[in-house]
Every structure is written in structure tokens, then in C-alpha cells.
């Protein structure tokens, strides 16, 4: 390959100007004639039978046009003839805030007034909010009516979740919707052979994706009968399928227009679109629903809380001998949780000759659980990276050296038996080891700081994708694709296509089209867009290039091999002055009677091997001993990215992931009272990290090229959000001697632990 012209350079986001000057149109900014604003009437109880909905008072409010309940929605039966899933409560509400009715009005304010006037008649039922209660013998059911639990979405994020764990099913406790079991070797023998064993129990709370733009969708029935849905979705084609199934129309009668997404992080695959579409069909007018922040906390799809007990043993020379764990993951009232991937990663970063993991997904009366950036990975990683750290201490080993000694490399097995492909965990550990922040850890300690490190890995996702690359009449190239640009991927694709043509990224337009016209691409999630759509773009651009060269060859009467594309013109190598411009090629191939075919390149990819990405983070913290407040004062994030096509956007992804990791570690958690009322339903009570809570973030990009990604690139979105909680917990341990196992490590928790430790010290001193 000659020296790259467009790839590998820090490239400004091509779509940034409209984001900066207010011209970007998000879904809620759209206006359609006759638009109705929707607001939901959410269940007041975490569990109740809904006996009736009284609409009259609401309908009397000026501006209110309709109050829709489950019975008013046109819900199609499933393929097997059973009733379809209704997005509104039919009779049993299973979490607080679950949509029971939808008020439609000519203004948002009138719709909100309408919600206040709708009366719902309930028969309350016991709510089960804790996993231990729900699993207890003889516990009542979280929902009286059961339905199939689907993990369809989980498989879109990582290749491992797409497989069944293939295990026997044991007899499960009540309200357990799924279980997993991974086993290898002889765990008892492994522990018997060990010199040190660490066993700890961890809890993490339910955490919200915290996208700044709440869930929003608008649907309209077009004059010719098609249903069009404008929505902030990460996954347009999946959304189309779900909408079409819900209202019972063929796929080709639904067009999903993926709008700019104001933050998704896994939480915006599909949620309110079937409801909004069904409402638009029911009333024959366009309907816009945007959750307010409270509704989003109550009725969206946050990441589940969990409890993990983990035991790991090793011999004196630092060889790990065994791992044993029991994990329970909340799966909300509707089921589904990233338990399996949590287990695979927890038992997958190091070589465990003997291993036994049992896990349970437990229903509780909480909202649906969803994907949040590397779903399952944070929770599993907190456990393993805390225990590994503690075990290194027990053995008197350096935590970096202990990790390097045991870390997995290509060919080592994950808990499910699948071997890791080429990975860069070792190289990433080494990169961080060489960094001044690690080398200078004693100086940091001397300043009263703690230093912690942690690993985080993500298996990566795969899904077939297609892209097209066409030459337009103005001589410009346009790439059209179906993947949603969450984080600058379209700029990355401009770079990839530009590289093929020897142009600058700004010379290539990349458009995400709606499902009517876009070539297929899977959802933007699981760190797979650059990895899987990138090769399709590359091939489409190459195809277009060949078509251009063959037209030029005929036109210039030269052999195609003798041609080169320079600055938007095709020239005969070594013959100055003989050239034809892209614009001329465009007009030669798109005019009446022309003998040349229009330039329309197509490229597809169906990569089946994912490219796992690893990150290793270092956190340096200070703790206020009085208040228990932890401040992260320095942060270094090393990550194997394969190859950074746009280093600026790769670093940006890492920065954002780090801040979310700090949120997991110290601030974020959703809390319910025992009756199932959410106590953290505003951004006042739910703390998203602010500018002052996050330190400057140093990044180290490691390049262990993937086999199939464009120029060796790997997915980079998930890994940076994974190690944060464990790195911070390990830093707190380093500083205070306290092993904090429950996240978030809020000041009151740490202050209480510091107090208890102090009391114990004084007591033992008095002895």
C-alpha cells in the first residue's frame, strides 16, 4: 500500500457544523401537518391488575384528541396466530410507569393535562423488587401472565450471545427466567492445589444509559398508505421489523427513517416505535412521543443490577488454578439480561484451568432491562478485576505482573469453550505498564493517592452489511448505507472511500438512508459498525473505482492499468495533459444516449469472526477521609484498537467510555423502594458525571491489527466503558486498604467503611 492519504489521520467530523450551529434536526425537532403530541399514562403501581381506564375527563380537555388504551391499538396476531405483543398494558401492569394509555393532543401541554385527567382503576398486587425475595421458595410471581423471554437484542451486540450455552436446565427457583452453567476441569482439585484463595461478593445497581436525548419517535401514515417512522434508533432495520410485526403490515410498507441519535449507548434499538406507529395507525394522524426524563427513567431499558460471588485461587508462583462463581442478574419484569456475556468475560480474561460458573436471570417488578454499552461486561469485570487484584496482594505479587503472567492470548479458551482469536490484551497491558503513570505510581502514593488498574474486554459483534458508492452528476462520490452514525462512523467511511480514490475525506459524502432505500446493515451496537460496514464501503468504493477506470480507459483509449486517479481526475500515468475528470465521467455515463453505464459500486461483507477489543485502564484517586468522597484525579486508558482510521474519533469514544466507567464506579445507580417506586427518577437524584467529576483522560492506542476489519481496525465503542469501576475500586483499595465491592462507591458507603475500619483499628489497639 502506498502512503495513506485519508486514513489514519485526525479528521474533523464532516457532520459537525450542523451540530454546532443548531441546524441538526433531531426527531423532536420535526413538524408535520396535523401532528399530535403523545404522553403516556404510566402505571402507578409496580404490580397491579388494571381494571379500567376512564377517559372522559381527559377527552374534555381542549386540545386532547384521543386517549388510547391497549384495546384501541391495531395489534396484529403473531405468525402462529397467538395474540401479538401489545405495547400498552392489557390487564396486568408489571412495573411502575409501564404505559397503560396514551393521550394524544394538539400540543404537548394539552397532552400532559390529559394524562393528569385520566383515571385508572387498579387492583394492586405484591411487588417483588429484590432478587432474593423473588427467588425465595414460595415467592409470588413477578407477573401472573408469562410470555416468552427473548434475548434477540443481546445477540446484536456480541457474537458470543448469539449461541446457546447448550447446558442442561436445572430445576429453577421461582421467577428465574433463564440460567447458565459453564464448567471446565475440576474446580475442587484446582482450589486444593492453590496456595491462596480470594472470595468476594459484589453488587452493582441498575444503571441508565443516560443519553441526553430521551427516547423519541414520530410515526405517520403517508397519503399512499405506507407507514413512516422517524426515530432516534441505532438499528433501523430491526426497528422496521418490529413495527411491521406489531401493526401487521408487510415490511415494504414501513419506512424507518433513522434520525440523528442524541446518545444511544445500546438503549435505542427499539422501544417506543411500535407504540407510536400503532397510535398513528389508530388515529390516522402523525404522532410524536418523546419520553420526558422521568418517563425515560421509569419505562425505558436500563442496564440490570446484579450480585456476583466470585472465588479464584492461585499457587505461590502466580499461576491461577481455579475460578468458581455464582451470578444473579436482574432481568426486569419482561425478561432478558446480559448474564451470559458477563460470565464469558468474567471467566475469559485469564487462563482458568478449572472453572465453574452458575448464573441466573431473575425477574423483578422493574422495567425491561436493555443493553448499555458493553452490556454485562462492567458487572462481570468489577468482580474478576477486583478479585485478581486482591489475589495478587495475597501472593505478594505486582498486580501488573500477575495479570501479564495469566492473561489470555490467541487460542486460549473462553468459558464457553470458544477460543479467543488474535487479541491484544498482553500488548495493551504492556503499553500501560510502560506509561509514566504506572511507572510513577510510588510518587503518586507519596502524594496521598491510590493507583489502580483493571482490564476490560469485549468479544465484538458481527453482522453482514452492504454499501453502495455512486458517482453523482456533479462529479462527487456518495456512499449510501444503512448503518446509523452514532459516533463519527460516517466520517470514518468517508476516509475509507476517499483512500480508494486518492481523495480527501471531505470529497466523499456518506449518507445513512432510510430502510426503503438503504442497503442492509445491522444495528449500531456491539462495536461492529466500522468492523463490518467498513469493509463493505471499501469494496463498494473499489468497485466504483474500477467502473470509473474502465470508462476512462475507453474514453482515453488507454489500458485501465495505466490510469491513476489524482485530485479528482483520471490520468494516464506519465503522460501529462491526458486526463478526464470525474465530472466528465459522470456526465458521460448519465446522459441520454450515452454508451457508458452509470457508476454504481456495490460492496458487501459477511464477516463471521469477530475482533475482540481489550482495554486496560489506570485510575489515580484521592479520598476525603471525612466525607468518603472519591475524586479521580488522573486517568490513563490504553486500548487495542487494531488500527485507528480516525484517531480523533477513536480517542473521543475512549474519553466518553471512561466517563461512563467513572459513573458506574462512583455515582450512578437507580434505586427503588420496596413497593417498587423509583426513587431516582430525575437527573437531580440520578448523578451523571459532570465536567468537574471527570479528570483529563490520557489515551494510549495499541495497534494489533484485526484480520478482517478495514486496514486492521477493530470495534472501539464498548471496551473503554468496561474497566472503570474495577480500576477505581482497585485504586481506592490501594489508598485506603478497603476493598469496596458494592458499586457505585458513593461517599456515604466509603465513609461508613472507613469509620468501621477505624473503629476496628482502635479496638484492636486497645486490646
Amino acid at each position: 500500500m502506498s502512503a495513506p492519504v485519508a486514513i489514519g489521520t485526525r479528521t474533523k467530523r464532516l457532520d459537525a457544523p450542523q451540530k454546532l450551529n443548531g441546524q441538526e434536526r433531531f426527531t423532536a425537532d420535526l413538524k408535520l401537518p396535523g401532528l399530535l403530541h403523545a404522553r403516556v399514562v404510566g402505571s402507578a403501581y409496580a404490580h397491579a391488575m388494571v381494571k379500567g381506564v376512564i377517559k372522559d375527563a381527559a377527552l374534555a380537555i381542549p386540545g386532547v384528541v384521543a386517549v388510547l388504551t391497549a384495546a384501541d391499538l391495531p395489534i396484529a396476531p403473531k405468525a402462529d396466530g397467538t395474540p401479538g405483543e401489545n405495547p400498552l398494558v392489557e390487564d396486568e401492569a408489571v412495573f411502575s410507569g409501564q404505559p397503560i394509555a396514551l393521550v394524544l393532543a394538539t400540543s404537548d401541554a394539552a397532552a400532559e393535562d390529559g394524562v393528569g385527567a385520566v383515571e385508572v382503576d387498579y387492583d394492586p398486587l405484591p411487588a417483588l423488587m429484590r432478587m432474593s425475595e423473588a427467588m425465595a421458595e414460595g415467592a409470588p410471581m413477578v407477573r401472573l401472565k408469562t410470555s416468552e423471554v427473548s434475548d434477540e437484542e443481546a445477540s446484536m451486540h456480541n457474537a458470543d450471545a448469539a449461541q446457546d450455552s447448550g447446558e442442561e436446565r436445572e430445576t429453577l427457583p421461582p421467577n428465574v427466567s433463564n440460567s447458565i452453567h459453564f464448567s471446565r476441569g475440576d474446580v475442587a482439585a484446582g482450589f486444593a492445589a492453590s496456595d491462596a484463595v480470594v472470595e468476594l461478593s459484589f453488587t452493582s445497581q441498575e444503571v441508565h444509559q443516560g443519553y441526553l436525548e430521551t427516547q423519541v419517535a414520530m410515526a405517520t401514515v403517508e397519503p399512499l398508505g405506507d407507514l413512516r417512522v422517524y426515530t432516534s434508533t441505532q438499528a433501523a432495520f430491526y426497528c422496521r421489523t418490529r413495527v411491521a410485526e406489531t401493526v401487521g403490515v408487510p415490511l415494504h410498507r414501513v419506512d424507518v427513517v433513522p434520525m440523528p441519535v442524541g446518545g444511544g449507548f445500546g438503549g435505542k434499538f427499539v422501544l417506543i416505535e411500535p407504540l407510536v406507529a400503532a397510535a398513528a395507525v389508530a388515529v390516522g394522524r402523525p404522532v410524536l412521543l418523546q419520553f420526558n426524563r422521568m418517563e425515560d427513567f421509569l419505562a425505558a431499558n436500563p442496564a440490570p443490577g446484579c450480585e456476583i460471588t466470585l472465588k479464584v485461587g492461585a499457587t505461590k508462583d502466580g499461576t491461577i488454578t481455579a475460578l468458581e462463581s455464582r451470578m444473579t442478574f436482574e432481568s426486569g419484569a419482561l425478561g432478558g439480561s446480559p448474564l451470559q456475556i458477563a460470565a464469558i468475560l468474567m471467566g475469559g480474561y485469564y487462563r482458568f484451568p478449572n472453572l465453574e460458573i452458575r448464573g441466573y436471570e431473575v425477574l423483578t417488578n422493574r422495567s425491561k432491562m436493555g443493553a448499555y454499552r458493553a452490556p454485562g461486561a462492567q458487572q462481570g469485570t468489577l468482580a474478576i478485576e477486583s478479585v485478581i487484584d486482591e489475589l495478587a496482594r495475597e501472593l505478594g505479587m505486582d498486580p501488573m505482573a500477575f495479570r501479564l503472567q495469566n492473561c489470555v492470548v490467541e487460542g486460549d479458551a473462553r468459558p464457553n469453550g470458544n477460543a479467543w482469536p488474535r487479541i491484544g490484551l498482553r500488548q495493551t497491558l504492556e503499553a500501560l505498564e510502560a506509561h509514566p503513570a504506572w511507572q510513577g505510581r510510588e510518587e503518586a502514593r507519596a502524594k496521598g493517592r491510590g493507583v489502580g488498574i483493571a482490564v476490560g474486554g469485549w468479544p465484538g459483534g458481527v453482522e453482514p452489511a452492504t454499501a453502495v458508492c455512486r458517482l453523482d452528476a456533479d462529479g462527487k462520490m456518495t456512499v449510501v448505507l444503512g448503518s446509523v452514525d452514532l459516533n463519527g462512523t460516517n466520517t470514518t467511511f468517508s476516509q475509507i472511500a476517499a483512500e480508494t480514490f486518492g481523495l480527501g475525506a471531505e470529497d466523499i459524502t456518506v449518507k445513512t438512508a432510510s430502510t426503503d432505500s438503504a442497503p442492509y446493515a445491522g444495528g449500531t451496537g456491539g462495536s461492529k459498525v466500522t468492523y463490518t460496514v467498513g469493509p463493505a464501503v471499501q469494496k463498494a468504493a473499489e468497485d466504483a473505482r474500477q467502473q470509473i477506470l474502465s470508462i476512462a480507459a475507453e474514453h482515453l483509449e488507454a489500458a485501465a492499468e495505466d490510469l491513476e486517479i489524482i485530485d479528482g481526475a483520471i490520468r494516464v500515468k506519465g503522460v501529462p495533459g491526458v486526463s478526464v475528470s470525474l465530472r466528465e465521467i459522470a456526465s458521460m455515463s448519465m446522459t441520454v444516449g450515452s454508451r457508458f453505464e452509470p457508476v454504481y459500486g456495490k460492496g458487501s461483507s459477511a464477516i463471521t469472526e469477530s475482533a475482540p477489543g481489550f482495554a486496560v485502564h489506570l485510575a489515580e484517586v484521592e479520598v476525603d477521609e471525612l466525607t468518603g468522597e472519591t475524586k479521580v484525579v488522573r486517568y490513563v486508558a490504553a486500548q487495542d484498537v487494531g488500527y485507528a482510521i480516525n484517531p480523533a474519533s477513536v480517542e473521543g469514544q475512549i474519553h466518553g467510555g471512561v466517563a461512563q466507567g467513572i459513573g458506574w464506579a462512583l455515582y450512578e445507580g437507580m434505586h427503588y423502594d420496596d413497593s417498587g417506586q423509583l426513587l431516582t427518577a430525575t437527573l437531580m437524584d440520578y448523578a451523571l458525571p459532570k465536567a468537574e467529576y471527570v479528570p483529563p483522560i490520557e489515551t494510549i492506542l495499541v495497534h494489533v491489527p484485526s484480520e478482517h476489519g478495514p486496514y486492521g481496525a477493530k470495534g472501539v465503542g464498548e471496551p473503554p466503558s468496561i474497566p472503570g469501576a474495577a480500576a477505581v475500586a482497585n485504586a481506592i483499595r490501594d489508598l485506603t486498604g478497603l476493598r469496596m465491592t458494592d458499586i457505585p462507591i458513593r461517599p456515604e458507603r466509603l465513609a461508613a467503611a472507613l469509620d468501621a475500619a477505624e473503629t476496628a483499628r482502635t479496638a484492636s489497639a486497645a486490646d
Partner: protein, 164 residues
């Protein structure tokens, strides 16, 4: 009721419900949708506009209260087709990802630089504490504000950008 709010240098006389918030006035009544809503309870800062040059959360103000005060939204920061030096700096330093917090971040930066033309890291983070960003981890936003300060100090003016 009738209100008359000067927005981006033009007086906007509108018939509204008295309870209408300034953010809804801007978005719904006069169609300036660059002002975003992330919470409506004063925490996220996505609705920040300038009122008489001060950064204010427009979900915390009634439209009627803005009467007689100069309101500047992101649409009014620079002439159409150009980017203000602060916007340029955010572009160059990769200070925007999803873009939802971005107009508000830009306006908060403009207000900060008017008060403190050369803010250090601490001052920047402090000044932006009312503006949540979930995408950037604030790192590149801080760099953007620093770069903006330099541009403004050097007398930079709005520059045209290539409309795509």
C-alpha cells in the same frame, strides 16, 4: 397573553399561554430547534441560551419573563453559513459527538469567555458543570474551550464553512 421577546436581534411578538416556558417558546412557537431539551428540570443544561449575555437554562424561565431581554440562541451566534470562533474551536478539537449537548456547550463557552477570557482547566470545568455531556467525557470539550479562548483573544471572527 401577548409577549414580545427579542430573539437573535429580532423582536418576536407572539400570543402564548402564560405558563409557556422559554424553551418551548423558542422551539415550538418560533421554530428555533437548536435549543434542546434533556430534562426540563434544570439539571442537564441542554436548553442553555444567552439572556443579556448570561448563560441561562431556558427550561427554568417563563417566556414572559424574557420579555424585554435580549435572547441569543445557537442560531443567532454567527451569520448563516459561518461558524463563530467558539464553534470553529469545537469543530477542530472534536468537542462534539452526538451533538445534543453541543449548542448549549457552545453558548456556555461564549458566556464563560466573556467573563474570563483565559480560563484554566479548573475554571472551564467549573463553568461547564451545569452542562451534562454523556458522549465526550468532557476531555475534548475542555480542549475546545481552551482553543476557543485563544481564537477569541486573537480577534477571530465568524468564518464560512462548506455547506454539505
Amino acid at each position: 397573553m401577548t409577549v414580545d421577546v427579542p430573539v437573535n436581534g429580532t423582536s418576536r411578538r407572539e400570543e402564548i399561554e402564560p405558563r409557556m416556558l422559554l424553551v418551548h417558546f423558542l422551539r415550538e412557537q418560533i421554530g428555533l430547534t437548536g435549543t434542546h431539551i434533556g430534562c426540563q428540570t434544570g439539571q442537564c443544561g441542554a436548553c442553555t441560551v444567552l439572556i443579556d449575555g448570561e448563560a441561562v437554562k431556558s427550561c427554568m424561565v417563563l417566556a414572559a419573563q424574557a420579555e424585554g431581554h435580549e435572547v441569543t440562541t445557537i442560531e443567532g451566534l454567527a451569520p448563516a453559513g459561518t461558524l463563530h470562533p467558539v464553534q470553529q474551536a469545537f469543530w477542530e478539537e472534536h468537542g462534539a459527538q452526538c451533538g445534543y449537548c453541543t449548542p448549549a456547550m457552545v453558548l456556555s463557552t461564549v458566556a464563560l469567555l466573556a467573563d474570563d477570557p483565559d480560563p484554566d482547566e479548573h475554571a472551564i470545568r467549573h463553568a461547564l458543570d451545569g452542562n451534562i455531556c454523556r458522549c465526550t467525557g468532557y476531555h475534548n470539550i475542555v480542549l475546545s474551550v481552551r482553543a476557543a479562548a485563544q481564537k477569541v483573544a486573537a480577534g477571530a471572527v465568524p468564518e464560512p464553512f462548506l455547506q454539505r
